[in-house]
């Protein structure tokens, strides 16, 4: 019964947010962008609203958060009442504050990681597709080999070797993810390099960097963006899986993946606490993918 009520409330919130966002975006957007938003499906409007909200929370975290990120304020697991609206965690830190800072840390790290993975993976992938020959073979075989090693175990190895600072965490996950991006970018680029305009650019004598950057990358963006959405979310999951094995983001930094992990045993008792960070991740995932789906739909020119 409660599940049903929660579902209904969720649906209602979804529609309300989506509709409000659509109206707001249309009203607020600069004139040339207005048609873009007018035809936006409700899901995408909802997704955009959520993403904007997260970004806002991430940027304004110090202003919004009622307490400081890792201050111990009182007893552990205090109930949901003022001044701790979402209670406290097991060390007695304010849950709401941790969630808000978590947005900043988790989203920031995931974003940096994904961007890095995409820059490296797509440039190498396109380069391999354009160059062909033994460079392509060597790179692709090497990437194949890396992909044949399970991602979690590869990251575990690398993190154990290089330590678990935020920087190494970003580099390692990005490196592991870049192999997946490489493969996608290469196969997309292989479809593009046979186009006449690439032939024209080659015959013109264009250099490799220009070929990648101006001729191929812009045309490979649609599938890459779609993949970006999913990969972005996989990074959260990778971080939380690593937290599960004790290698995630270091405390006392608030991070959703670790927060889920910390409180995971409480799920056994049906306690809602671990749902908050997990829900935060899930909501963002869904939101990002709604927007990506919409962009894909627009890019594919499918009209229905």
């Amino acid at each position: 019964m409660t599940v049903l009520i929660a579902l209904l409330v969720g649906l209602a919130l979804f529609f309300a947010t989506g509709l409000a966002a659509r109206v707001a975006l249309q009203a607020g957007a600069p004139a040339p962008l207005k048609p873009l938003f007018r035809d936006m499906p409700l899901t995408a409007a909802f997704g955009l609203a959520v993403i904007l909200f997260y970004i806002l929370v991430a940027i304004l975290a110090p202003v919004l958060a009622p307490f400081s990120e890792h201050e111990v304020l009182g007893g552990q697991y205090l109930p949901w009442e003022a001044p701790h609206y979402l209670g406290t965690d097991k060390l007695g830190r304010d849950m709401l504050t941790r969630l808000i800072y978590g947005a900043r840390n988790t989203v920031g790290i995931a974003f940096a990681t994904t961007v890095l993975a995409f820059v490296v993976g797509s440039i190498l992938g396109i380069w391999a597709a354009v160059t062909g020959g033994w460079i392509d073979q060597a790179l692709s075989r090497f990437v194949d080999a890396l992909m044949a090693i399970p991602a979690l175990i590869l990251s575990l190895l690398l993190l154990t070797i290089f330590g678990t600072s935020v920087l190494t965490l970003i580099l390692v996950i990005a490196a592991v993810d870049a192999t997946r991006v490489y493969r996608l970018a290469r196969s997309v680029a292989q479809g593009i390099v046979v186009m006449d305009y690439i032939e024209a650019a080659r015959l013109r004598g264009e250099g490799m960097w220009r070929l990648i950057r101006r001729e191929i990358l812009p045309n490979a963006m649609a599938p890459l963006v779609a993949e970006f959405g999913l990969r972005f979310c996989f990074v959260f999951l990778a971080i939380s899986a690593l937290s599960f094995l004790g290698l995630g983001i270091k405390p006392p930094t608030a991070d959703w993946g670790s927060m889920v992990r910390e409180n995971a045993t409480l799920i056994t008792f049906g306690d809602i606490t671990p749902l908050l960070p997990a829900g935060a991740i899930a909501l963002l995932t869904v939101a990002v993918n709604f927007v990506v789906d919409w962009q894909l739909h627009r890019a594919s020119g499918l009209k229905e």
Partner: protein, 520 residues
């Protein structure tokens, strides 16, 4: 707790002779738990979910290091001496033991006992079992115990061990879990064999997964090993352990996540056993390296955090505050009257000033490999220390490789001790100058002097005095922060009955739950 002190009147003689009361057991049964039925019943399959276990677990006693192999060993093996639930030394394979000078120890080996294979036990088996841990080529973790042993030989039905110096506590060493009595051939034990003298015979063993053992029908103890079969399951994930207990997949689990103790109790499907012992969590500081070389810095840190809060939040109350004292309330010479240290930022500041500092910045390396909740404890310490002008940066390091890269390598890190039944063992191991595991590299002349003196001191009152002084030195001059004694927290299903007293020297009733418990 004062109980421990009033009952501490042990005579040297009684110590040397086996089977004498020693201290008190630290059983704290939670309110509302039914008294176990007095008469144990036989039968049933007892399944234990243990939060340890690895695919590298094996039968070589020298390499045992965690609860899974320890419990597994207790199920199939017997030792020379058992530590009883109340802390007594109980004769097991050694019927009795004696020493005239504390240097030559004679253990009388029980007769008419047979291994699972049917082979009868001889004193030669005992000699071989002990010799496995001696000598150049030994890879045993307890090799240092035998540094002082000059000779082990069988003499009729006796085994005679000769030391190079008197050690009043030597029988305690013989109860160590690394030293089961195993079958030998040509003076060697077979470290790939499960054969033992214990109450259960191994049916199957998958390292890191499970072990199944059946009751030994020929077990020489008639009042032990009540279950028909026991299954030891390795369940590393805390939530999975809880789930297994709550869904009835197992009957007992160890290491209950403190956060869920209250919730589990309220469910009523299981009872919590919270056993206070000598186990303690520590944060050793490298006494050789600045700033920890200055005792004022060390004292500042000791006053800069809230011990009670740590007990409440890290242990969920299942433990007690420690005054930087590795000797626990279950030890004989525990110094309970030592002036306590409370959270006092002013005092911390004062000591800082004494050290010529306004502020202090240190990095504390921690991983939950050190102890469950180590990282959280470090964070708590860091938060509280801020008020005293001390910045503790918590560096959460990987569990993997912790003991290799961090412990005794980083100047300030987390560690734990299971506690030792005798003061000497604890102090020698971790606090004596040059001790193999002197994790703080601490070297105190007075302490070292007292340690040697106390070991061979025969007068109990003087010995007590010496140990009290040593505890005080460690507490106020030592380089180890010891915030708390952690209880052994287990959860057992309502179907399981336990004796009234549960051993506090190790987890799971001193690893002996498989032998001592039964189904109600």
């Amino acid at each position: 707790m004062s109980d421990y002190l009033t009952r501490g009147g042990l005579s040297r003689r009684s110590l040397i002779k086996g089977a004498t009361a020693l201290g008190a057991a630290g059983l704290i049964l939670p309110a509302g738990v039914r008294r176990a039925s007095a008469e144990p019943k036989k039968g049933g399959v007892f399944r234990v979910g243990i939060g340890h276990g690895s695919s590298t677990d094996g039968y070589d006693p020298g390499l045992w290091d965690q609860l899974y192999v320890q419990t597994f060993a207790a199920a199939r093996h017997n030792y020379l001496i058992e530590i009883g639930a109340d802390g007594n030394l109980v004769p097991e394979i050694a019927e009795s033991w004696d020493s005239s000078d504390g240097m030559t120890w004679v253990f009388k080996i029980r007769e008419g006992v047979a291994f699972h294979s049917g082979k009868g036990l001889t004193p030669d088996d005992v000699v071989a079992s002990l010799n496995h841990h001696r000598g150049e080529a030994s890879t045993s973790a307890v090799k240092p115990y035998f540094d002082a042993v000059t000779d082990i030989k069988a003499d009729g039905q006796n085994v005679v061990v000769t030391l190079n110096a008197p050690n009043a506590d030597f029988p305690y060493l013989m109860s160590d879990y690394h030293l089961p009595v195993m079958a030998s051939a040509d003076g060697k034990i077979d470290v790939t064999s499960s054969d033992g003298l214990g109450g259960y015979i191994v049916e199957s063993f998958e390292p890191g997964v499970q072990a199944t053992l059946n009751r030994n029908p020929n077990y020489w103890k008639s009042d032990r090993a009540h279950f028909d079969q026991i299954v030891l399951l390795s369940i590393l994930d805390a939530a999975a352990r809880l789930n297994a207990l709550m869904t009835g997949e197992v009957d007992t689990i160890d290491q209950v996540d403190p956060a869920s103790i209250g919730l589990l109790e309220s469910r009523g499907v299981a009872k919590i056993l919270s056993i206070s012992g000598n186990a303690h969590y520590v944060f050793p500081m490298d006494a050789r390296a600045a700033p920890f070389s200055d005792n004022n810095v060390r004292l500042a840190l000791k006053y800069a955090f809230d011990r009670q809060e740590m007990v409440d939040k890290i242990l969920a109350g299942h433990g007690s505050v420690s005054n930087d004292n590795p000797i626990g309330p279950a030890n004989r010479y525990f110094f309970a009257e030592m002036e306590p240290k409370t959270y006092d930022p002013d005092k911390a500041k004062f000591h800082l000033k004494e050290a010529g500092m306004e502020t202090l910045e240190v990095t504390l390396s921690a991983a939950d490999a050190a102890f469950s909740g180590a990282v959280d404890a470090a964070v708590l310490m860091s938060e509280k220390a801020a008020a005293a002008g001390i910045t503790i940066t918590v560096d959460r390091v990987p569990n993997d490789g912790y003991w290799d890269n961090i412990w005794m390598k980083k100047p300030f890190c987390a560690s734990y001790w299971g506690g030792r039944p005798v003061e000497d063992q604890m102090f020698t191991t971790a606090y004596s100058a040059g001790g193999a595991w002197n994790e703080s590299f601490w070297d105190n002349a007075r302490f070292n002097e007292l340690l040697v003196a106390a070991r061979s001191e025969l007068d109990d009152a003087k010995r007590r005095e010496m140990y009290h002084e040593m505890q005080h030195i460690v507490s106020f001059e030592g380089s180890t922060i010891i915030p708390m004694y952690n209880n052994y927290v287990m959860a057992v299903s309502n179907a399981v009955a336990t004796p009234e007293k549960i051993s506090n020297n190790w987890n799971l009733d001193g690893f002996r739950c498989v032998e001592r418990w039964w189904f109600a």
